[in-house]
Point group: C2
Chain length 339, copies 2
C-alpha cells in the first residue's frame, strides 16, 4: 500500500499516536497568555545552571522527563530520539539528552525542527521501526541572542519586525498504540528550502512566510483539501508581520486561510504589553505551544483536526556576514483528535 500522497506528503495507513507531551518554559512565557497551560515555568531563566546553553539543555531534559512521566514510560522504552535546537552543533540537545542513553537522530530545521522531529518520529513509528519514540526541541532567548545577534548586556534596540526567541522546550512521546492518546499524526508534508532573497535578520517572519506558504499550498494540493478542512492551520513563529505576508502569498495561490489561521508566535506573548515585537520565535515556540495549548484541545475533541506548520529561518551569522540571504523552511504535520 502506497502512503505517498501527491508530490510532498505522506498519509499514514497506521497513524501513530502522541500519547504524552510536556512543555517547560521561562519566566517571560510564564507571564504571557498561555501561562496556565504550560507544565512547568522556571523560577529563573538559568534553570539552576551556570550558562545559557546549559539552561537550554535543562529545558530539553526536563521536558522529556515530564513527558515520559505523563505517558507512564521509561527512557529505555523509547527506541529513538529525534531532537534538535538552534545552537551550533545542537549542543542544547547533545548535553540535555545524553543521560537518557536513547539512540539519537540529531536534526536541524531552525525553528521548524519540531515539525521535522514529529515527521520523522511519526514515519519511524508508523513503519513499525519503533513502538515508542520521542521528539524533543528547545530554544532559549539568551543562548539564541548570544549566538545570532548581540550579547544581552549590549541592550540593543529591536525593530518592530523582530521576534522574541521563546525560552521553552517540549517533548512528545509517539506510540503505535495508546490507551488515551492526545492525538494521532495522520500525515505529513515535508518542506523544501525556500529563498525569497531576504537578508534582514530582524524580520524572520518575512523569511519564513514564503516557506510556510509553499508547504501549506503543497499540502492542500497533495491531499486535495481546502483550508476549512482544518479547524486550525497553525504556523510556528511567523509573528504578526509574517502572518500578513503568508495571507498575501496564499491568496495568490488561491487559498484564503484567514478564518482558520493561528500563529504560535502570536499566541505565546502579548506583544502589546510584553514588548516582544512581531511575536515569539524559536524551536521552543511552536513546540511548547503545541504541547500546552493545542494538544489538550485535540485530546478533548474541542479541536478535530489541525495542520501544524512549524517554520524555520535558516539564519547563520557566518553566511549572514558574508552577505548571503536567509533561506526558510517549514514542515507540515496533520494532527487529528482520537475522540
Amino acid at each position: 500500500m502506497n502512503q505517498q500522497i501527491g508530490k510532498g506528503s505522506l498519509c499514514f495507513s497506521e497513524a501513530p499516536f502522541i500519547i504524552g507531551s510536556a512543555s517547560v518554559v521561562g519566566t517571560k512565557e510564564g507571564e504571557g497568555p498561555l501561562a496556565k497551560e504550560f507544565d512547568c515555568i522556571g523560577a529563573d531563566d538559568k534553570f539552576g545552571q551556570d550558562t545559557w546553553e546549559a539552561a537550554e539543555s535543562s529545558l530539553q531534559k526536563e521536558a522529556l522527563t515530564l513527558a515520559l512521566g505523563k505517558s507512564g514510560m521509561q527512557p529505555e522504552d523509547m527506541r529513538y530520539l529525534f531532537a534538535g535546537d538552534l545552537l551550533g552543533q545542537l549542543i542544547a540537545s547533545s548535553f540535555g539528552l545524553k543521560t537518557f542513553e536513547i539512540p539519537l537522530f540529531g536534526l536541524y530545521g531552525a525553528c521548524s525542527t519540531c515539525g521535522e522531529a514529529l515527521s520523522l518520529s511519526a514515519m519511524a513509528v508508523a513503519a513499525g521501526y519503533a513502538d515508542y519514540a520521542a521528539a524533543v526541541t528547545s530554544s532559549h532567548f539568551a543562548s539564541a541572542e548570544k549566538q545570532f545577534r548581540f550579547p544581552l548586556e549590549y541592550a540593543n534596540q529591536r525593530p518592530v519586525s523582530a521576534t522574541w526567541t521563546v525560552t521553552g522546550g517540549a517533548a512528545f512521546i509517539l506510540a503505535r498504540a495508546g490507551k488515551e492518546p492526545l492525538a494521532k499524526i495522520a500525515g505529513i508534508t515535508t518542506g523544501k528550502i525556500v529563498d525569497f532573497g531576504i537578508k534582514d535578520s530582524m524580520n524572520m517572519g518575512a523569511v519564513m512566510a514564503p516557506a510556510a506558504c509553499e508547504v501549506i499550498a503543497q499540502h492542500l494540493a497533495d491531499f486535495d483539501r481546502q483550508p476549512e478542512y482544518y479547524d486550525r492551520i497553525v504556523t510556528g513563529d511567523l509573528g504578526s508581520i509574517g502572518q500578513e505576508i503568508l495571507f498575501d502569498l496564499l491568496d495568490k495561490k488561491g487559498y484564503d486561510i484567514r478564518s482558520v489561521h493561528e500563529d504560535c508566535g502570536m499566541l505565546i506573548y502579548d506583544s502589546e504589553t510584553q514588548g516582544t515585537g512581531s511575536g515569539g520565535s524559536g524551536c521552543g515556540c511552536a513546540a511548547s505551544t503545541l504541547s500546552a495549548h493545542f494538544l489538550p484541545k485535540l485530546a478533548t475533541g474541542e479541536l478535530k483536526r489541525i495542520l501544524f506548520v512549524p517554520t524555520g529561518a535558516l539564519l547563520s551569522t557566518v553566511s549572514f556576514n558574508e552577505g548571503e540571504t536567509i533561506p526558510g523552511i517549514a514542515h507540515g504535520v496533520v494532527l487529528e483528535t482520537c475522540k
Copy 2:
C-alpha cells in the same frame, strides 16, 4: 512483520538499494592514496567560490548533481533529501542544495552525519515512503578550521593526535529497486551519545572511539554476529590513535575487530607524507571514501558485506569554551553486495 532487532537495530525486510553515488574532493585528497577513485577533484579548494562556506556548498551541489547523473535520475525524482554538514545551522547543505527544490530533512550528527543520512533515507525508502531519496554530506578543511579552531592564516601547530578535516562531499541515491545497484542497505544500528569526559579538541579519535565501540558492540549483539561476519568494519574518521582506543575498548567487550577493521580517515591520506596527523576527519571523510573506495568493491562483489560506522565528535566552540566535555556519536549501516 517486525523489523526491530535487539535494542538498537533494524533489519529491513525489503532492503533499499544504493543505485548511484558520487564524491567530490579537494586538492589534498586528490594527492592522497584514493586519488584515482574519486569522481571529481577540484582544481583549487575554493571551487570557484568567494568563501570557504560557499566552496563547501559547491561540494554538495556537485556531488548530488553527479550522483543523480550517474543514476539516470532527475532532482524531481527524489522524494526526500537527507543532508547535513559540520557548519553551524548547516549552511553548506542549505545553500548547496536549495536549488534542487527537494523536500529536505536537515541532519546533524557531526562526522557521523553520513551514517545518519543513510539510515534515515534507508528507513524512508524501505517503508515505502519514497521510491527514491538522496543522502548528502560534506566537510571542508578551511570552513571547519575557521569555525572550530584557528584561522588558517594563524598557521598554528597541531599535535600528532589531531586529524585533518577532509575537503569532500558525497551523495548517495537510494531506491526501492534498481537495475544495477551498487549495494543494498540490509540494516542499521543507531547510536546514542557517548561521553567519556574528553575535553581535548585536538584528539577527536579519543572522543569518537567510545561511541564507535558502543554502536559496533550493540550491532554485533543485536544481530548475534561476530566481527568476521563482515569483510570489513569501516569506521569514519577515528584516525590511527582512535583506532587503537577502539581496539582496546572492544577487547573489553569480547570483540576483536583487528582483522576486519579499516578507518576512512586512515585511508584517505598518507599521514607520513601529507602531514595529516592521526588521519582524515569530517563528514566528507567517511562519505567520500564510502562512495569512491568501498561502494565500487561492493558493486563488483569483491566485498560481500561491510559494516559502515561513521563517527562524530559533537564539538562546539561554545560548549568547549565553557569547559564542557566533547561527546561522541556513531551510526552503523550494513551494506551488502547485490552480486
